[in-house]
């Protein structure tokens, strides 16, 4: 009986909180990104506005926004080379599956100024959290290999963090620029936007955009995956054709 009363009271405060807090509207400038043969990166904009709560006339800041962009996941492995009898070879490895192929965090201020570590950790906002949850087996090396994997991904521009990536145009409207590198994996990218005020998480919103390899390269890639035998035969015919043509043209 007492437990039920507490639950009801908790639900009431939660409900009241939801009615009171500000909300967020957000969108992505280009929901479909096509990668063609001369693709060398694309910039897209993420923008939105803080909506006032039901009791307010206008939303009052200052607000902070964190946007987390996550690409499709694959199974990845990080390997360490060590010197054995004079030869450098891969000796240790940790698997991370699934691990995002793309992970960027954009924010309007340094993350720890916006909120505390518990909230960042709970929402998996930091890249390290991605490595921690996906590592198999959960060994002692996970921290080290995870950090190295994130470093390698960052070097390719696939992981990153920009603490001035979100700009407020007015007290409530924000915009963020995101530049995608040329070698991203196609699939669905999720953008999760978090609204903070005084260190408290007020609202969360998810959007998405799709990255698609279009054109001839995409066709070749899917053919290699889906019709490997036909793809191989085509390669052989192409080789014989080219060689034959060369032989006929030059007649040696």
């Amino acid at each position: 009986m007492r437990g039920l009363a507490i639950a009801v009271a908790f639900a009431l405060t939660l409900g009241a909180g939801a009615a009171k807090a500000e909300d967020l509207v957000s969108t992505v400038s280009n929901p479909n990104i096509a990668i063609t043969s001369n693709f060398d990166g694309e910039t897209l904009s993420l923008f939105g506005n803080v909506e006032p709560d039901s009791n307010q006339v206008a939303a009052k800041g200052p607000y902070d926004v964190i946007i987390v962009i996550t690409g499709p996941s694959v199974d990845r492995v990080a390997r360490l080379k060590t010197n054995n009898f004079g030869l450098w070879m891969n000796t240790e490895q940790v698997e991370f599956n699934p691990f995002p192929t793309y992970f960027h965090v954009l924010s309007s201020n340094p993350l720890l100024k916006i909120t505390d570590e518990q909230i960042l950790e709970a929402n998996r906002i930091l890249p390290d959290a991605q490595a921690r949850v996906s590592a198999v087996p959960q060994s002692l090396h996970v921290e080290r290999f995870g950090a190295e994997l994130i470093r390698l991904m960052s070097a390719k521009g696939l992981f990153g963090q920009n603490e001035v990536g979100v700009k407020f145009l007015s007290p409530t409207a924000y915009v963020a620029q995101l530049t995608l590198p040329g070698d991203i994996t196609n699939g669905l990218f999720i953008t999760q936007t978090y609204l903070f005020k005084d260190g408290k998480l007020l609202a969360k919103r998810g959007d998405s955009f799709a990255v698609n390899k279009t054109g001839f390269e995409r066709f070749l890639f899917t053919s290699a995956q889906e019709y490997p035998l036909l793809y191989g035969l085509t390669c052989v015919l192409l080789a014989i054709g080219t060689g034959w043509l060369g032989g006929v043209i030059f007649r040696r």
């Binding site: 693709f39 492995v77 390997r79 360490l80 599956n97 040329g182 070749l220 490997p228 191989g232 034959w244």
Partner: protein, 328 residues
């Protein structure tokens, strides 16, 4: 050699003005002229020396940043194209021993099965790059040393004024005493089929694992071990190489999806053109000089692999995608 690699990487990197081509399987953008260019350069050398050029092209691609697995599989396409033009011209001259080629082809395709299976297993274990480097070091190092030794001796003899007769000793070795003898009419040979099959098996395995046609191994093996006549050996080897490389392309496509058709095509076009100029340039050099240069080149590639194995890597950590779609 290391500085050369850095310059090489710079050339192969995407630059906004140059014509970039996206390689769908390697998943990287490369300069079209760079790819056709190294195809042509290696094609020139292969025309000059009468070799397939896979042993140069695969390392060059690896050193310029193409994943080893994609480099090995895609170069097979270039070798297939190069051996087609070669085999075609020997076919017109009628200097191919079809009977001998059939035995070599069948055994080399069995070797290819083992080679491709080993390739996949090594890649999954993360040891493919290491094995490719060690195998290149051993194969090219030993072949290069033998060739260099022979070429230097020939050069010294010529300088001393001794007339070198390029005639093989006619005595029989233990190889000619093996059972299951077969008559190869075109080659005028009556020899055991076992060494023929063994040569095919070994070259099929090595060729598919390392992305080489293996002409520089098969030709000496057929000439020195089996006494196949010089006018027959090249055309027969080219035909065998064509069949073996075709089988490798198909098996690699099915097994590891690491054949990049775009990369292979760029290399083929460059290689076919380059080979023509190499073949005409070869007429101005003497045989022993050519062999000396080829030996030096083979040794240089072997040393480059040796250095990469011994020197500490720029980055001890690496990453790879595993499972479906995992190429890098």
């Amino acid at each position: 050699m290391i500085g050369g690699t850095a310059a090489f990487r710079f050339l192969s990197q995407p630059s906004p003005r140059a014509l970039q081509i996206y390689l769908p399987i390697a998943a990287l953008s490369m300069n079209l002229f760079f790819l056709v260019g190294i195809g042509a350069a290696v094609g020139f050398l292969s025309g000059l020396f009468g070799v397939g050029g896979g042993f140069l092209l695969t390392p060059l691609l690896i050193f310029s940043g193409v994943p080893a697995s994609v480099a090995v599989s895609s170069v097979t396409g270039q070798v297939a194209a190069a051996s087609t033009s070669g085999a075609l011209s020997y076919w017109r001259r009628g200097t191919i021993d079809l009977h001998l080629a059939t035995y070599l082809i069948l055994s080399s395709i069995i070797g290819v099965f083992f080679g491709v299976a080993t390739f996949s297993a090594l890649r999954a274990a993360g040891q493919l790059d290491l094995v490719i480097s060690v195998a290149y070091l051993i194969v090219l190092g030993s072949i290069g040393t033998i060739m260099m030794n022979e070429a230097v001796r020939a050069l010294l003899k010529r300088r001393a004024g001794i007339v070198v007769r390029e005639k093989l000793p006619s005595q029989h070795t233990w190889i000619h005493g093996l059972p299951m003898r077969i008559r190869f009419k075109k080659s005028k040979l009556y020899i055991s089929v076992l060494p023929v099959l063994a040569i095919g098996l070994v070259i099929g395995f090595l060729g598919s694992l390392l992305g080489i046609g293996g002409g520089f191994i098969v030709v000496p093996a057929l000439v020195y071990l089996l006494r196949v006549p010089g006018n027959i050996v090249v055309g027969t080897t080219l035909l065998q190489m064509l069949a073996m490389m075709s089988a490798t392309i198909i098996l690699q496509s099915v097994q590891s999806q690491s054949v990049d058709i775009m990369l292979a095509f760029c290399l083929m076009v460059g290689g076919t053109i380059g080979a023509q100029f190499g073949a005409s340039a070869g007429q101005y050099l003497r045989g022993d000089q050519l062999r000396f240069l080829l030996a030096a080149l083979v040794l240089a590639v072997a040393i480059r692999f040796g250095v990469s194995l011994v020197l500490p890597p720029a980055d001890a950590f690496s990453m790879a995608v595993i499972g479906a779609g995992g190429i890098v």
